[in-house]
């Protein structure tokens, strides 16, 4: 009986210990090699300092239940690694002034790349989760080669324009939809199939030699939302990413739930009945691609989500009719989700502009007013909506390298 790994978060294997031997900064050329050890104590202490902002060693001891010598030891390691700062607190009482520890936002950076069928976006986050740089390009069906050169250019832009010390980036997260190369999609050029045979992590190595984390775009968005968005109020939620197609990510008790094969949250493939009674996938009717097609049939052409922000009144009315239709499909799906898993919230995000996401959330809520209480569910626009996949991707390295695994997604 080998219990799942998560059962043993407090035990470090021998491998881990040897791998983490150098948890101090080793400034290799190109990137900052930084990972705090998996024996959990460093991660737990770091997490407390990060979320509580300013805290003394004694407070840490009582919060974490670790002994004082352990805290002293661990905080020294964190200070050496540059992840935290120490400052003297002026005391009111008697005795020696206490030293307070706080997060060093510039201690490390992380980058997130979002690759999708209609755009490429790169963001850089500091340790406090602030976006310190962003580069984006609206490119339809960017090939692997185009993506590689976009990253190389954008990386330089981060260094020069945003003044990100790129040698202090500890990891690069890449968020992209599943089956990018294989899934049939209107307008997809044949060359796009190259994605099916592309090693995404290898693709970015020429620009960034450090640790690379590849994740589904909706999952990255959900993780981002859990960490820096509404996730603090809603420990369990389904994130719905309305991008070119439709994706989803599930967070349960602040942990991303990957499913057995890492294919959870595939909400776009859920089946819905159309008005003519025919079956189709949800993403055939609710997605940017579906909206664009729907508008085209009505003589309105949009070239990207930005066009949806400046529509003439007639087109805006058409978009609103589409939202009402989309809401009808989503309401059925949300009722099912409510019945079989019952999350605290459903969060709508993605590249649909924020005012349209808000409108969609409002329509869905209105539709529920007639439903029985047992069928109602909280629906809202995600706090991180449009750049969520890129931001979520940038959080992945912090997660894997610095945050405690049991409470992967932080706490309120």
């Amino acid at each position: 009986m080998k219990p799942p790994r998560s059962m043993f978060p407090f035990q470090s294997s021998r491998d881990d210990v040897s791998r983490e031997a150098g948890n101090e900064l080793t400034a290799e050329p190109g990137y900052l090699r930084l990972s705090i050890d998996a024996n959990h104590n460093q991660r737990v202490v770091f997490q407390e300092i990060r979320t509580r902002r300013r805290v003394t060693r004694s407070e840490l001891a009582s919060i974490t239940g670790l002994t004082k010598p352990t805290i002293v030891n661990v905080s020294r390691q964190l200070l050496q690694a540059g992840l935290i700062l120490e400052s003297e607190r002026s005391t009111v009482g008697r005795g020696q002034p206490a030293w307070v520890l706080e997060l060093n936002p510039d201690g490390a950076y992380s980058a997130g790349l979002n690759i999708d069928r209609d755009h490429l976006t790169l963001v850089a986050l500091d340790l406090a989760g602030q976006i310190r740089g962003r580069v984006s390009a609206e490119i339809s069906f960017a090939s692997p080669d185009q993506s590689r050169s976009f990253l190389a250019d954008a990386w330089k832009t981060l260094a020069t324009r945003s003044k990100i010390p790129v040698d202090r980036v500890i990891g690069l997260g890449v968020a992209l939809p599943d089956d990018l190369g294989t899934l049939a999609f209107p307008g997809k050029p044949p060359a796009y199939a190259a994605w099916a045979h592309t090693d995404t992590a290898g693709l970015v190595r020429s620009t960034y030699p450090g640790p690379v984390f590849v994740e589904n775009d909706a999952v990255a968005a959900a993780i981002g939302e859990a960490q820096f968005g509404h996730g603090l109020e809603a420990p369990s939620f389904v994130y719905i990413l309305i991008s070119v197609l439709l994706g989803g990510g599930i967070v349960i008790n602040r942990n991303y739930f990957p499913g057995e094969h890492g294919r959870s949250g595939e909400i776009g493939f859920m089946r819905v009945k159309q008005q003519d009674g025919a079956d189709c996938s949800l993403q055939d009717v609710v997605s940017l691609a579906a909206l664009s097609e729907w508008l085209k049939q009505r003589g309105i052409t949009i070239s990207g989500p930005d066009d949806l922000k400046r529509l003439d009144p007639a087109s805006a009315a058409a978009v609103d009719r589409w939202l009402t239709e989309a809401c009808g499909y989503l309401t059925d799906i949300f009722a099912q989700i409510r019945q079989f898993i019952d999350p605290d919230s459903i969060m709508l995000g993605g590249r649909l502009p924020e005012h349209l996401l808000d409108r969609l959330a409002t329509l869905c809520r209105e539709r529920q007013e007639n439903a029985r209480p047992a069928q109602r569910i909280d629906i809202r626009r995600a706090k991180l909506s449009s750049d969520a996949p890129a931001i979520g991707a940038a959080i992945l390295p912090f997660h894997t390298l610095l945050f405690p695994s049991l409470e992967m997604l932080g706490r309120s």
Binding site: M1, K2, P3, P4, S6, M7, F8, P9, F10, Q11, S12, N39, H40, N41, G65, L66, T67, T70, D178, D179, S236, V238, G248, I250, I252, N253, F257, P258, G259, E260, H261, G262, R263, S264, G265, E266, I267, F269, M270, R271, S281, I333, A335, Q336, I337, R338, Q339, F340, I341, D342, P343, D344, A374, Q375, L406
Partner: protein, 380 residues
């Protein structure tokens, strides 16, 4: 997420005269469960199975032996050197009592450490006042648990088919399962911790301890009844959702013909001590028409490792239903990213009852995450 002891006595108080209390000691739980599921095993096997150091194993085994939870069995000869001593769970090491409160009946069971029922009673709810019902419960309890030493009973688990929210208005009239007087329960089992949970939580606890559950990383469990319920089990705990006090039915329709038929078939067969008939095609068609779209959604949304069908349908009906669902899911495999195998749960139609009795065992003897979180400075 856990069932909670609803007694005034603190959970940590140890049982009189024994050292059964493993709460808080995750490693002991780990070793005990390894012996239970893999036994007979040697101390070396245990070190390998659990990843714990040999001296730790030796200490824990000593404590488990002393508290009579496990015993040493024959040595196995043949190899070189001293033959190793094998350990196995003592069937009489501990007992647990389960009470299932349904709208139409009360069922009580006593299970031993291996999950085998040693005594049970099922009774239609007597049409009497609550006082009479409590009297009846006390009587049944005394009868069932009579031959067992009190200190070996680790708890009473109660599975409620309705919601279990506190403060829900109670009605004296029949048909409301919350009419069970919790105070009366604590009277019948003085010194016995009580764990109350939903029927679904009980069923998944039963499956975890005595069925497939522990072998699956995550699965979706559908508890069949007149109105089926279901939930995701991950890291060996049921995710109860945002409204744990509210009963969530998988199908909004209140009157499902195929469910009623299967429940009746199971009940009749049990009543007449017969093998239930095989399900006919019409029944399978009707069941799949409701079930398959739900399974597609569950697969898309959750990508579970498996879907287990359990509950009050005849075993053969669940098996046939699982087969039919698998065939139909295969037909639409191209439309969905992944689909999990549907299989009948290992525990039969009385899963909720056995599951109720499993609640105390899970809470007190199983290596659950909560046991880990209670300790401090647990550095490997």
């Amino acid at each position: 997420m856990e069932s909670q002891a609803r007694v005034t006595r603190p959970l940590k108080a140890s049982l009189s005269g024994t050292n059964l209390e493993l709460t808080g000691d995750y490693n002991q739980r780990l070793v005990y469960q390894a012996v239970r599921t893999k036994g007979p095993v040697t101390r070396n096997d245990l070190a390998e199975l659990t990843g714990l150091a040999k001296p730790t194993i030796a200490g824990i085994v000593k404590r488990l032996l002393r508290s009579d939870l496990i015993s040493e069995t024959g040595r196995i000869y043949g190899g070189r050197g001293q033959p190793a001593v094998h350990l196995e769970t003592r069937r009489d090491g501990c007992y647990s009592i389960g009470l299932q409160v349904d709208e139409d009946q009360l069922a009580l069971v006593v299970i031993d450490a291996l999950g085998k029922p040693v005594n049970r009673s099922i009774t239609n709810l007597p049409s009497a006042s609550r006082g009479r019902m409590n009297e009846f419960l006390q009587h049944q309890f005394a009868e069932l648990a009579g031959g067992i030493r009190r200190e070996r009973i680790i708890g009473l688990g109660v599975a409620m088919s309705g919601g279990i929210a506190a403060g829900r208005p109670r009605h004296a009239e029949l048909g409301d399962s919350s009419g069970i007087d919790l105070l009366a329960l604590s009277e019948i089992g003085q010194d016995i911790p009580i764990y109350i949970d939903s029927d679904l939580a009980a069923a998944t606890a039963g499956e975890l301890l005595f069925g497939f559950g522990a072998t699956l990383r995550n699965y979706y469990y559908i508890l069949m009844d007149e109105r089926p319920v279901g939930g995701l089990v991950m890291q060996q705990a049921l995710f109860k959702g945002a409204h744990p006090g509210q009963k969530r039915f998988l199908f909004p329709d209140a009157d499902l013909g195929w469910c009623n038929e299967a429940v009746a078939a199971e009940r009749d067969a049990r009543f007449n001590h017969q093998v239930p008939s095989e399900p006919d095609d019409a029944w399978l068609d009707a069941a799949c028409e409701d079930l398959v779209p739900l399974l597609i959604s569950i697969n898309c949304m959750l990508d579970p490792g498996s879907v287990l069908l359990g509950g009050r349908f005849p075993d053969a009906w669940l098996a046939a239903l699982a087969d039919r669902c698998n065939a139909l899911l295969l037909d639409c495999a191209e439309q969905i990213p992944s689909h999990a195998l549907v299989q009948p749960a290992q525990l039969g139609p009385d899963v909720t009852l056995i599951g109720a009795a499993s609640l105390p065992m899970r809470a007190r003897l199983f290596p659950i995450e909560e046991a880990l979180l209670k300790t401090h400075d647990h550095v490997g």
